[in-house]
Symmetry: C2
Subunit: 422 residues, 2 copies
């Protein structure tokens, strides 16, 4: 099952600015791992079954580094506010519904089926504060064949009663129970998820660090997304050198354990230096940052500093789970940032956006996001023949056009971790 060959027009990133296009090539897979891309089948693999996708483009599966499954119910809605008001008005009331497992069942079914059909093969997902609903989501993701980290959200202050964990102690007890129950999944893994500094007390953060040590778990949270939010963190954590430091002083900012911070729109130099030093992954969420009028992260600068940057849909700050749209939005937002605010930071290229969506974010999940020997075989096959054109296109141009115009209709096959989903 995990030993096979696929043939087609193979595209992946050889570096943050380097797109690699290999026409009519064979990707050899054994034990679920890529063994290389070849113009002809090497003799030693001659016996493996070959699936020929013809003119189809074979791309690495994409990694969505930040999205909220419990916000699926209002995707494409409530786009008229900035972050903090948006949380109070739309997000918390929606997430509160996940105390009802019937509602969770319906919402998470819709969410998982959307994600399964998309270009996304790996994702770092926020659920809600509810342990049982989070386990239900994990069950569905496990069954989907996708490879996800899922976080039961923690918040024990500064949010409405109806969604707040009563205190740090009970939050931590509940979280530990969730971690233990989540061990039953082979491919769907727990990730510690303090929502963000404003909703997490010091005792909660300290307790999460203990859980991290005890169970060796990664973390995910939000960072420097919105001016109001940043000012609030400064009030709440007056001793922290910067927003990132408000996590770091609890040891919850990468370093010893992997960490994703979503947004980093307004990170200062010190914060960026700590991100770099601790190997924190930045989840760039361009559509969400437009919809909530947060701003635009200077992403091409982050890439040139060698920071680890992946791309994210941030459903439902973003309306679409489609990572091709996230690429488009990243490029478009970077152009407006360049035009309107700062000509020192160059707009993103197609190559850079593609890198972030595949190799950049994939690195969080291990050897993922490129067709290199030893990498997990995550791939999507795009058939763009329905995007009619009166003239022949080079492979690179076909990719660019698909990034702007394709969606799940054009995905004809999908492989995750060496297994074909459809």
């Amino acid at each position: 099952m995990k030993d096979f060959i696929i043939k087609g027009q193979v595209l992946d990133s050889a570096g943050p600015e380097l797109l690699r296009c290999r026409e009519n090539s064979y990707i050899v897979v054994t034990e679920g791992l890529c063994r290389g891309v070849f113009p002809l089948v090497p003799e030693q693999y001659a016996g493996l079954p070959v699936t020929d996708f013809g003119t189809g483009m074979i791309l690495p599966g994409m990694s969505d580094l930040h999205l909220h499954a419990a916000q699926f119910g209002f995707r494409g809605l409530g786009m008229d506010m900035e972050l903090l008001d948006w949380l109070e008005r739309y997000t918390f009331p929606e997430e509160a519904r996940f105390s009802d497992l019937r509602y969770a069942e319906q919402a998470y079914s819709g969410f998982v089926s959307l994600l399964r059909r998309s270009c996304t093969t790996r994702a770092a997902v926020f659920a809600s504060v509810h342990r049982e609903a989070t386990l239900l989501l994990m069950e569905k993701l496990e069954a989907s064949g996708l490879r996800c980290y899922v976080g039961k959200v923690n918040m024990d202050r500064n949010c409405p009663d109806y969604i707040r964990e009563p205190d740090a102690q009970s939050a931590l007890r509940d979280t530990e129970e969730w971690i233990l129950q989540a061990q039953s999944f082979a491919h769907t893994k727990p990730i510690l998820t303090p929502r963000f500094i404003p909703t997490c007390s010091d005792p909660l953060m300290r307790g999460l660090k203990e859980l991290q040590r005890k169970y060796a778990l990664p973390t995910q949270s939000h960072l420097s997304e919105n001016y109001g939010e940043i000012a609030w963190v400064r009030e709440l954590s007056p001793d922290a050198a910067h927003y990132g430091d408000a996590y770091a002083r609890f040891g919850m900012f990468g370093g010893d354990h992997p960490c994703i911070m979503a947004h980093c729109v307004h990170s200062g130099e010190e914060e960026l230096e700590l991100i770099r030093r601790n190997g924190v992954f930045i989840a760039h969420s361009p559509e969400s940052n437009m919809n909530l009028a947060s701003g635009v992260a200077p992403v091409s600068r982050y890439l040139s500093l060698g920071l680890r940057v992946g791309l994210a849909s941030d459903l439902a700050g973003g309306s679409s789970e489609n990572m091709l749209r996230a690429m488009t939005h990243a490029i478009q937002a970077s152009k407006l940032r360049w035009r309107l605010a700062d000509q020192e930071v160059k707009p993103l290229s197609l190559e850079q956006a593609f890198w972030m969506a595949t190799a950049g974010g994939g690195a969080f999940f291990g050897k993922v996001g490129r067709f290199e020997p030893g990498f997990a075989l995550d791939a999507v096959v795009l058939d763009d023949s329905s995007l009619s054109t009166p003239r022949p296109l080079r492979l690179r141009d076909r990719l660019e056009r698909a990034v702007y115009l394709a969606d799940e209709r054009h995905i004809t096959a999908k492989f995750v971790d060496g297994v074909r989903l459809f």
Copy 2:
């Protein structure tokens, strides 16, 4: 054929900021014109056939005030340049292909079938300099049932030989011949189309004005899109008070005849005042203005000044013909403009974007874009049931979600000028 009733969830604009939602309502149509929207069928219309679209949303057909049919071949491509380089590198070579009628046949077939399936019912379309290919496009648009203005492009300077009209005189002769030949179409009308000031000599502009007087034709062109372009116009027309004045001194800037100017991203106060006085329609093209890093027009200010603003896809500066995407892009770009550059101009609301796409642009075509008595019946029916959600949505929310997420798959019926296309 043109007397009937359609029933469904009816949405239209009652004003630039006022969305009108009428549930389970009947739109009565006689002689192709809307006679009103009613909660029950009025007695006098009791005999008319009723088509019930159930929970489907019935929206006014949308007007795309600016797009380039001859750029269909590279939609979604070549997004790495600003306007003037982009014209030289991608646009002119592509438009040159339309000297070949076989190529035009293929490209325009694809373009028209795309437009026919979209939310667009009316459009102001640029073709290329080629008379015969332009007539071919008009023939196809006429057959499609859409209602379009189409322009044979004029340019007799500052562009490559292979695409330049040899001189003003022959350009004008060719244009007049095209105008006469275009009289054969009932619903597809010619519109004078000097590409933009840099490519149009003074004699050409003077001659176009004469043709305008002789045949009572509207005009369309480009205005204040890009800094480099604006500086170039200043060099070429040193006596003009502003870019708009470079058209106005030939009488080609609204006033006596209808006029569309695409972009107006960087229009100054004097130019805006002339736009207002002359009733020039602004074709706001947000995706194109992002892709070519042109900037963001302060659209909500234009609306509050009472200017006539419609929305445009600007294919292929924009990648998508989908006017729902143009609305999304308009809102998103306006938020980044607010965040990054100018907090004096408020971001666009859903209501404003919807107004521009329907009533705002529709006004260029007459009584179009609203379900008011006496208005042409242009409508699209959206079935959003495949956009799954775990909870019931109000009609306004269904519209917002569709604006972010729907595409031609969700259009189940389309009416143009009282005739059902599908």
